[in-house]
C-alpha cells in the first residue's frame, strides 16, 4: 500500500532532483577546491534534461501527471571546456561558482520542504487528525 504512495512519479522526480542537486554541489565544491589548479576545467552536472526525459516517459497520456515509477537515472558530470580560460588554462570563475552554490542549496532546500510536506501529509492521514 505504501509502495503505491511512495512510488509515484512526482515523488520519485523530487528524489531524482535531490540526487542531481547533491551531485551538482559536489561538482561546485570540486571547482572551488581547484580554483588555483593550472589547466583545470570546471565540472558541471546538467541533470535537468535527463530527469525531465525520465519523468516524461512515465507521464500518463490522460492526465499529464507523472504516473508510474520514474526510470532510475544517474546524474552525469561533464567538463566545461568552452568557457574562457585564464592564462594558466583554468576556467573556474569563483563568483559564478558562488552564485551556482547559492542556487543549488536553495533548490535543494525547496525540495526537502516539498518531500517533508509530502511525509507530514501522509502522517496526518495515517493518524486521521
Amino acid at each position: 500500500m505504501l509502495d503505491r504512495l511512495l512510488n509515484t512519479g512526482t515523488f520519485q522526480a523530487a528524489q531524482g532532483a535531490l540526487d542531481g542537486l547533491s551531485a551538482r554541489h559536489a561538482a561546485i565544491a570540486d571547482n572551488l577546491a581547484n580554483v588555483n589548479t593550472p589547466g583545470y576545467k570546471r565540472k558541471e552536472v546538467p541533470f535537468e534534461d535527463t530527469l525531465a526525459r525520465a519523468v516524461k516517459d512515465q507521464t500518463s497520456q490522460c492526465t499529464g501527471a507523472a504516473s508510474g515509477p520514474v526510470r532510475p537515472f544517474t546524474p552525469c558530470v561533464t567538463r566545461d571546456t568552452d568557457s574562457q580560460a585564464r592564462a594558466d588554462g583554468n576556467n573556474v570563475d569563483i563568483e559564478a561558482e558562488m552564485v551556482r552554490l547559492a542556487d543549488t542549496s536553495l533548490r535543494y532546500e525547496t525540495l526537502t520542504q516539498y518531500v517533508g510536506g509530502f511525509f507530514s501529509g501522509l502522517k496526518a492521514v495515517i493518524n486521521a487528525k
Binding site: L18, D19, S22, A23, H25, A26, A27, I28, A29, D30, L32, A33, N34, V35, N36, T37, P38, Y40, T74, C76, V77, I94, E97, M98, L101, A102, T104, S105, Y108, E109, T112, Q113, V115, G116, F119, S120
Partner: protein, 147 residues
C-alpha cells in the same frame, strides 16, 4: 552519500590552500636570508596543485579491488603535486664591503607573495562557504519526515 563527498572535496581544497599559505609565509619570512645549507641565498618556493581524480582514498580503492563500478563519479578535490624551487635569478644588491662588490639576495618579491596570499585566502574562504552550504543541505535533508 554525495554530501559527505562534497565535504571531503572542500576539505582537500582547504588543506591545499593552507599549505600554500604556509609556503608563502615561509617565503616572506626568508626574504633577507642570504645563507642556506646549500651555501646560496634562500630560493623562493612555490606550490603546484593538481586535480585529484580519485583512486587513492579508501572507498575507491576498495571498490576497484572488489571490481565494483562506482555509481558516483570518481574522485574529486585537489592535491599538492609538489613544492618546487623558483629557478629565477637571485637579486644582486651593491655591497662595497663584499669582496665581489655585491651581495646576492633571495629571488622573492614581497608584493607578489602578498598577492598570492590574498588569492589563497579567497580560495580558502570559498571552500569554507561551500562547506557551510553542504552542512545546511545535510541538515535540511535530516529534517525530512520530522514533525
Amino acid at each position: 552519500m554525495s554530501i559527505a563527498r562534497s565535504l571531503q572535496i572542500s576539505a582537500s581544497g582547504l588543506t591545499a590552500e593552507r599549505l600554500r599559505m604556509d609556503v608563502i609565509s615561509n617565503n616572506i619570512a626568508n626574504v633577507n636570508t642570504t645563507q642556506t645549507a646549500a651555501g646560496t641565498p634562500y630560493r623562493r618556493q612555490h606550490v603546484i596543485f593538481a586535480a585529484s581524480e580519485g583512486g587513492s582514498d579508501f572507498p575507491s580503492a576498495l571498490r576497484s579491488a572488489a571490481g565494483m563500478r562506482s555509481s558516483e563519479p570518481n574522485g574529486g578535490g585537489v592535491r599538492v603535486a609538489s613544492v618546487e624551487a623558483d629557478k629565477g635569478d637571485f637579486k644582486r644588491v651593491k655591497d662595497p664591503d663584499s669582496p665581489t662588490g655585491y651581495t646576492l639576495l633571495p629571488n622573492i618579491e614581497p608584493v607578489m607573495e602578498m598577492v598570492d596570499l590574498i588569492t589563497a585566502t579567497r580560495a580558502y574562504d570559498a571552500g569554507v562557504t561551500a562547506i557551510g552550504a553542504a552542512k545546511q543541505m545535510q541538515q535540511k535533508a535530516l529534517e525530512i519526515g520530522r514533525g
